[in-house]
């Protein structure tokens, strides 16, 4: 908890800096990092902690985004103070819709072996995308324009820019996501999730209902993916099915694998890195003229799996890793 508060403080400082810099691009990056962190954390629950292979995370994100966007377009506009409740509520709706989708997809497919789940979730992601492409009510291939987003908050003596308001939503949901997953991880539920990952037969013999456990992980994971989708929709004010394709799912998988499958803090760190990486690669792109991003991602995936499958932190958290480093280098426990 203490560490989370430190992280939030750091995030707040960065927020202020970002806003003061008035550079729209920096602001964009910041919000995207938070959204990606939520996506990575949620996927980590199912891929990392429970060891199931889901390739369709973007599909659940899409469900959340579109449901949230659609709801916001049919309900009437609200006061600048109402928005403080309205947008989190929209995200909640998006999350619940995505969770329902997760339940429908998960229940039949989680009875099957790992490889099949991968294909089914991949299929689901594609089906959602195709369905959305063919639904004119939400814009179809052209996309959904004009999604309402947070507006500046006029307190009279102070005007809080809409960037800050967006940050408040994103960080709010990020905290909920992180805290929930952290608490789950360190509870009987977490032990059940990990046991399913480790050895399903042994887990069953120990009284763990593996199907129920897997479905639960899947539903929670989809919920937060939907929330992330909603945040994305209301920040970007425009969504189209193409942004929720397989490539997006792969982006999230890279974050989870890089950070460490099972490590929540690892996913956050990896999200920061992976979101900012394309920008770091831009000069290279300018020189060579080709988009090497996916080639690099793909090679990293393979190399990571062969050379360092535990990614950055394995299943441990930043806290534990720091502690064992200190022990190793200084030969004593930290104060």
């Amino acid at each position: 908890m203490k560490n989370l508060l430190w992280a939030l403080l750091a995030a707040s400082i960065v927020t202020v800096v970002a806003d003061v810099s008035v550079d729209a691009f920096v602001q964009l990056m910041f919000i995207y990092v938070i959204i990606n962190a939520i996506l990575a954390l949620s996927l980590n629950l199912i891929n990392g902690i429970t060891g199931q292979f889901s390739l369709g995370h973007a599909g659940f994100m899409a469900v959340g985004a579109y449901v949230s966007a659609y709801l916001s377009s049919v309900t009437s506009v609200f006061s600048p103070f109402g928005q403080l409740v309205f947008f989190p509520l929209l995200a909640l709706m998006g999350g619940l819709a995505a969770a329902a989708a997760g339940f429908c997809v998960g229940l039949p497919s989680l009875r099957l072996k790992g490889d099949y789940l991968a294909i089914v979730t991949l299929g689901f992601g594609e089906i959602i995308r195709v369905l959305l492409l063919n639904t004119p009510a939400v814009g179809g291939a052209r996309g959904f324009y004009g999604i309402p987003g947070p507006v500046d908050l006029d307190l009279g003596f102070l005007v809080i820019s809409k960037f800050y308001v967006n940050c408040w939503y994103s960080l709010f949901w990020f905290s909920i996501c992180f805290i929930s997953l952290w608490r789950l991880k360190n509870s009987a539920f977490g032990q059940k999730f990990f046991s399913v990952r480790d050895d399903e037969i042994a887990a069953e013999a120990m009284g763990v209902d593996t199907t129920k456990t897997k479905v639960l992980a899947f539903v929670i994971s989809s919920f937060f993916a939907g929330v992330a989708g909603s945040l994305f929709a209301h920040y970007a004010n425009y969504i189209n099915p193409a942004s929720f394709g397989f490539q997006r799912s792969v982006d999230v998988i890279i974050m989870v694998v890089l950070g460490g499958m099972g490590s929540l803090s690892g996913s956050v760190v990896a999200a920061v890195f992976v979101t900012l990486l394309p920008e770091l690669l831009r000069p290279l792109q300018e020189i060579t003229g080709v988009d090497l991003r996916m080639v690099i991602y793909a090679s990293c995936l393979v190399l990571l799996m062969i050379l360092r499958p535990q990614g950055l932190f394995g299943s441990k958290e930043w806290v534990h890793v720091m502690r064992s480093w200190r022990l190793r280098f200084y030969g004593r426990k930290s104060a």
Binding site: L184, A188, F189, A203, M206
Partner: protein, 261 residues
Amino acid sequence: MAENLLELKNVSKYFGGLKAVDGVSFSLQRGGLFGLIGPNGAGKTTLFNVLTGIYAPTSGEITFDQQSIGGLKASFVARLGVARTFQNIRLFKDMTVIENVLVGSACRSQSSLAATLIQSAGFLRESQDRMKRAMTLLESFGLADKADWAATALPYGEQRKLEVARAMASDPKLLCLDEPAAGMNHHETEQLMTMIRKIRQEFGLTILLIEHDMKLVMGICDQIVVLDHGSKIAEGTPKEIQQNERVIEAYLGPQTDEVYA
């Protein structure tokens, strides 16, 4: 409370044409220590797997604590109070010693999802309890000082003990041990025998074990059931079994007085 904790009536398990278990019947009294023996391939582990819900029986009835459990899912049977260890150790390899034990008790956790997320007082209390009980369990198995070790770092004998500890963590009524002494030397087997006697007494368990080590079986079991080629060929006290002709034949081959004719 009925006398018989577990009753098998004509239980069979066929894999296609292979009759792994064929019409086996016996009962376990509450609080007893039973052995299940027989030559390799007799169907002992298959019977275990049927008992614990990993396989569904092809036919026959299994009644545990007056409830029919034949064909029920393994996790359900486990939660009813049947715990087991495996012939080839199946510890959770990526977890520590204490985490393995905690998984055992996870199925008994009463905390709901909501309680876990808001960390209610009930949840916090239960977490502490579970941790304490896990440590106590480890202490009685002599593993408490290695609680934070990776489970795979334990020496073989202690890994077997950990498996038993993990099975105990779910507070079972019936403990099924599949070859607990496999790979142990004389001294370790003695320790195991003492431990089994102790936990039977301390926790009031009924224990069913598969074993090849005759010293252990004859030494601690009240009743022994002998399987051969899937069928039960004998049942009785250790003394009766040792003198049973069919059992001797099953293990050593037909006893004839003729020398190669």
